[in-house]
């Protein structure tokens, strides 16, 4: 029988790998996919506890999370296209126009 802890282990692993990806990588696509991975881990945790308590509210919350991720995808990817067109790079370290204006 699969225990609650094994599901929690998988979802925490996905979440942690997402956090590590945001910390360690500089490619903006990988950072975006890491954020998606964190949302996925949280979704798995919510659905596990929905089954554990036999209650459907967490599943509704994870549907909301998926909808927000879809909205985020549209805006984020158009911002990436704009930045890539103007800077010809995917490095997050040079996307500093909001903080440093005239510099760089």
């Amino acid at each position: 029988m699969i225990s609650l802890t094994s599901y929690a282990f998988v979802s925490m692993m996905l979440f942690s790998i997402g956090v590590i990806g945001v910390i360690a990588r500089r490619n903006i696509f990988v950072i975006y996919m890491s954020i998606e991975m964190m949302l996925n881990g949280v979704n798995l945790f919510l659905v596990t506890f929905a089954r554990y308590h036999f209650n459907m509210d967490p599943q509704i919350v994870s549907i909301m999370v998926i909808a927000i991720a879809a909205a985020e995808a549209a805006v984020f990817l158009s911002v990436i296209i704009l930045l890539y067109r103007s800077r010809k790079s995917l490095d997050t370290d040079i996307f500093t126009i909001l903080s440093q204006g005239e510099k760089s």
Binding site: M1, I2, L4, T5, S6, A8, V10, M13, L14, S16, I17, I20, I23, A24, R25, R26, N27, F29, V30, M33, E36, M37, N40, N43, L44, V47, T48, R51, Y52, M56, D57, Q59, I60, S62, I63, M64, I66, A67, I68, A69, A70, A71, A73, A74, V75, L77, S78, I81, L82, L83, R85, S86, R87, K88, S89, L90, D91, T92, I94, I97
Partner: protein, 173 residues
């Protein structure tokens, strides 16, 4: 039987996530994320969430990851455009050192909870109809707000992606 499916799915999910942060080329990273999301969808099916299983495959694997792959191919990124990441593995070790105590804390808290049977049931738990009734009974305001959010995201992406004179200074000018 279900145990072996779960073990295979979890190994695939974690391996896909690790492939995402290891590979330098974002195309391989996107394929790793795709594998990971499909495995999570399989786990949703094991947890009796049939509607979420469908939504995960259609929206995440079908729409979002396809959009990312499309944009990656559309931008046609060369290897020299990719950022150099000399400190990647050092930072991965640092992040793991931060996240492992949190993992141990949460997993020890979860393992103290009383065990319940999490196997697949014959009831209609997680089907489309009960989910819809639940959604429109108790979560109507959130549902409407989500629809407004999606509309605003649509408008925002159209406005951002519109062809116009860029005010951002080009590098090297």
């Amino acid at each position: 039987m279900v145990d072996f499916i779960f073990i295979g799915l979890s190994i695939m999910a974690i391996a896909g996530a690790i492939a995402m942060i290891i590979y330098k080329n974002p195309m391989y990273s996107a394929l790793g994320v795709l594998i990971s999301m499909l495995s999570v969808a399989g786990m949703f099916a094991l947890l009796n969430a049939t509607f979420l299983f469908l939504v995960q495959i259609i929206v995440y694997a079908g729409a979002i990851m396809t959009l990312i792959l499309f944009i990656l191919m559309f931008l046609n990124i060369n290897d020299e455009d990719l950022p150099a990441e000399p400190k990647k593995f050092k930072l991965i070790a640092l992040g793991a050192a931060v996240m492992i105590p949190l993992n141990v804390l949460i997993l020890s808290a979860v393992s103290k909870l009383p065990e319940k049977d999490l196997s697949i049931t014959e009831t209609d738990f997680g089907d489309i109809k009960p989910i819809g009734i639940e959604l429109f009974d108790n979560w109507l305001v959130a549902f409407e707000l989500i629809s407004i959010l999606l509309l605003i995201a649509l408008l925002g992406s159209v406005v951002l992606a519109k062809k116009r004179k860029s005010k951002i200074k080009k590098q090297g000018e």
